[in-house]
């Protein structure tokens, strides 16, 4: 660490932004304990009843589970594929390179809903039933540009001499990749994986079109928006998910600090 200023403006900026980010969450929390079914002041009394209803609502919990499964699977695939392309871009020269880059980044340009319909047509033509798998496939395609860009930004300018050195020392290329390159780009891969996970977990344009009998949470939520009396349960779940994740994050941090 070079110059170290007091934890001043930047830290303040970060925490200020965090506060702003979490403010709507706080509002959601307030309404999850609100006795009314609509989002307006004045509040009409507090209740934990919505959380109780949630625990009895198998469908909501199942939708949340589906989202987790789809996000975990699709983000893993997207990170793997994105890293592959990033390595190709950074380490190889080949004729179709520009084409591959363009192809891999192109999903960013295609509106989700367009890709959704295109995939729907494809799956119908091949008589593949819509399911969590089809949603997952859609998610890998849209997450790929993100994972690629994140890993490639890390790889760009990363000194190839390290690899040369390893190979001069007798390692073959796959080993070099595995033992030299991957550990160094691992943080970027984690970053990419997190991004892909986030993209998938909350995504609903694709999921809406490609869902079969099992919905993901955003799909379920969006369709419940028609019915006002279901809304507080959904908010309760969203709040719980958040509290759960935050708890995990804090625990992980504690553990890391102890180490």
């Amino acid at each position: 660490m070079s110059t170290r200023r007091a934890p001043s403006r930047l830290t303040g900026y970060y925490f200020g932004l965090i506060a702003l980010l979490y403010l709507p969450i706080a509002i959601l929390f307030v309404f999850s304990i609100n006795a009314n079914t609509t989002l307006s002041f004045p509040l009409r009394g507090l209740t934990l009843g919505w959380y109780k209803n949630l625990l009895e609502s198998g469908a909501v919990l199942r939708a949340a589970r589906n989202s987790l499964v789809v996000a975990a699977g699709s983000s893993a695939v997207a990170t793997a594929l994105g890293t592959m392309v990033a390595l190709l871009i950074a380490r190889y020269q080949f004729r179709a390179k520009r084409l591959l880059v363009a192809l891999a980044v192109l999903p960013l340009i295609v509106p989700f809903v367009v890709l959704a319909v295109a995939l729907l047509i494809l799956f119908s033509a091949l008589h593949v039933d819509r399911s969590l798998w089809t949603i997952g496939i859609g998610h890998t395609v849209v997450a790929l540009p993100y994972t690629l860009l994140i890993v490639v930004a890390r790889l760009a300018g990363f000194d190839p001499n390290l690899e040369e050195a390893a190979m001069d020392l007798g390692a073959n290329y796959p080993t070099t990749l595995r033992r030299i390159v991957l550990p160094i780009i691992a943080p970027a891969m984690v970053s990419a994986w997190l991004t892909a996970f986030t993209v998938s977990f909350d995504e609903f344009a694709l999921a809406l079109f490609l869902a079969g009998t099992e919905p993901t949470f955003p799909v379920y939520l969006f369709s419940q928006l028609r019915f006002a009396n279901r809304l507080p349960i959904m908010i309760a779940l969203a709040v719980l998910l958040m509290i759960g994740t935050l708890t995990l994050v804090f625990i992980a941090e504690r553990v890391r600090r102890v180490e």
Partner: protein, 374 residues
């Protein structure tokens, strides 16, 4: 260059083959999320023992047990799987794309398409024990070309919902949605055919025979209407929120929103415009080629039964096609919402006619241009 070309054709050929193999394997290996449709056992099997499975393409929320509770109780061993459709267009698209659901749930306006495209089976109403509880006017709504293709199930009104404290003089015409007096406090449904219907009512035009000139006028009207419109609502909760906190004073609304707001004690009224209210009906159809025709009929029969009907009314504030259920409503809020005490209400109501493909295309394109206009 040539080398690259050879490489790319080889690659693309390989790519195509592998892609097809991968998706075929993926399709076969995918965890089955529903039991494969089985042949319906002969009717001698008692209801409580009957097994099998049905897939229903329905709107979100209707997969709750409350809305098929009679079927659940009568045939406890039959599995019912639900696929969720997000809108009429979505359901139609899915059915066209070859969705294998046995039963689907469209609303009036869209019914002609299913018949024209050969997507729906005729219903053998002689096998429905609850069929006689459905009023004739509703039965007719499920008939296309004289044949009973659809089972009417849920229904409701569309009218103008308004805050009585903000608009004490009341509302008596659909033109209120375009009234500059309410600038910034109007909300209408985000739907082209709905907008055309409203304009047709206001001008006294026949909504089944809108000419291109009339459509152009309608488009201009709704472009002007954006000046008074606060936002287009896509779902009732949005609208209910906005009316409850006073942002919206007058809106195109279904009676579900009305009942919800009444229940919250917000001072609202549901207009009886001089042009008449609109009404829509949700219907169930059986996919042509479904292997579960008999089971589907049993499902339909149970959908018409009293317990299911009461849940529709009490939980969703929608009407049900079983007349006994409607006659049995005692809750004051609901009676007000459905104008139960007005026996002539249905005569004054305009039921949504079924659109042709040209109309749907033209009217949705019109609405898109309204939203895109500068």
């Amino acid at each position: 260059m040539i080398r690259a070309l050879r490489l790319s054709t080889r690659t693309s050929g390989l790519m195509l083959i592998l892609a097809l193999v991968a998706t075929a394997c993926g399709g076969a290996a995918a965890t089955p999320t529903q039991a494969p449709p089985t042949a319906v056992p002969p009717t001698e099997v008692p209801a409580a023992e009957m097994t099998g499975s049905l897939t229903v393409l329905d709107w979100a929320g209707y997969d709750a047990f409350d809305f098929w509770v009679d079927f659940q109780n009568t045939y406890p061993k039959v599995t019912v799987n639900f696929e969720i459709g997000a809108s009429d267009a979505d359901i139609y698209s899915k059915m066209k794309a070859g969705d294998q659901a046995d039963i689907f749930h469209p609303y009036t306006g869209w019914l002609q398409f299913y018949v024209d495209e050969g997507l729906v089976e005729e219903i053998d109403t002689s096998r429905l024990t609850n069929w006689d509880k459905v009023p004739d006017s509703f039965k007719k709504i499920g008939q296309i070309n004289g044949k009973q293709y659809f089972l009417p199930w849920d229904w409701g009104f569309t009218s103008i919902l308004y805050r009585t404290d903000k608009i004490p003089e009341g509302v008596d015409s659909w033109a209120a949605l375009m009234n500059p007096k309410f600038k910034g406090h109007v909300s209408t449904w985000d739907d082209g055919p709905g907008a055309v219907t409203v304009s047709a009512y206001i001008h006294g035009w026949d909504e089944t025979k809108i000419t291109p000139e009339q459509l152009a006028t309608i488009k201009e009207e709704w472009i002007q209407q954006r000046d008074v419109n606060l936002f287009y609502w896509a779902g009732e909760p949005e609208l209910v929120d906005a009316m409850a906190n006073g942002d919206v004073w007058v809106a195109y609304a279904w009676q579900g929103a009305y009942a919800t707001l009444l229940g919250q004690g917000v001072p609202v009224a549901y207009a009886n415009p001089k042009e008449g209210r609109n009404s829509w009906v949700g219907v169930y159809g059986i996919r042509k080629g479904s292997q579960n025709y008999d089971l589907a009929l049993k499902f339909f029969d149970a959908k018409l039964a009293a317990a299911t009907g009461n849940n529709v009314v009490n939980l969703f504030y929608y009407g049900h096609s079983n007349q006994d259920v409607m006659n049995g409503i005692t809750d004051a809020t609901l009676k007000q919402a459905f104008s139960i005490d007005d026996p002539t209400i249905l005569q004054k109501t305009n039921f949504t006619p079924n659109l042709t493909a040209e109309q749907l295309d033209a009217w949705t394109a019109m609405w898109a241009e309204v939203k895109a206009a500068p």
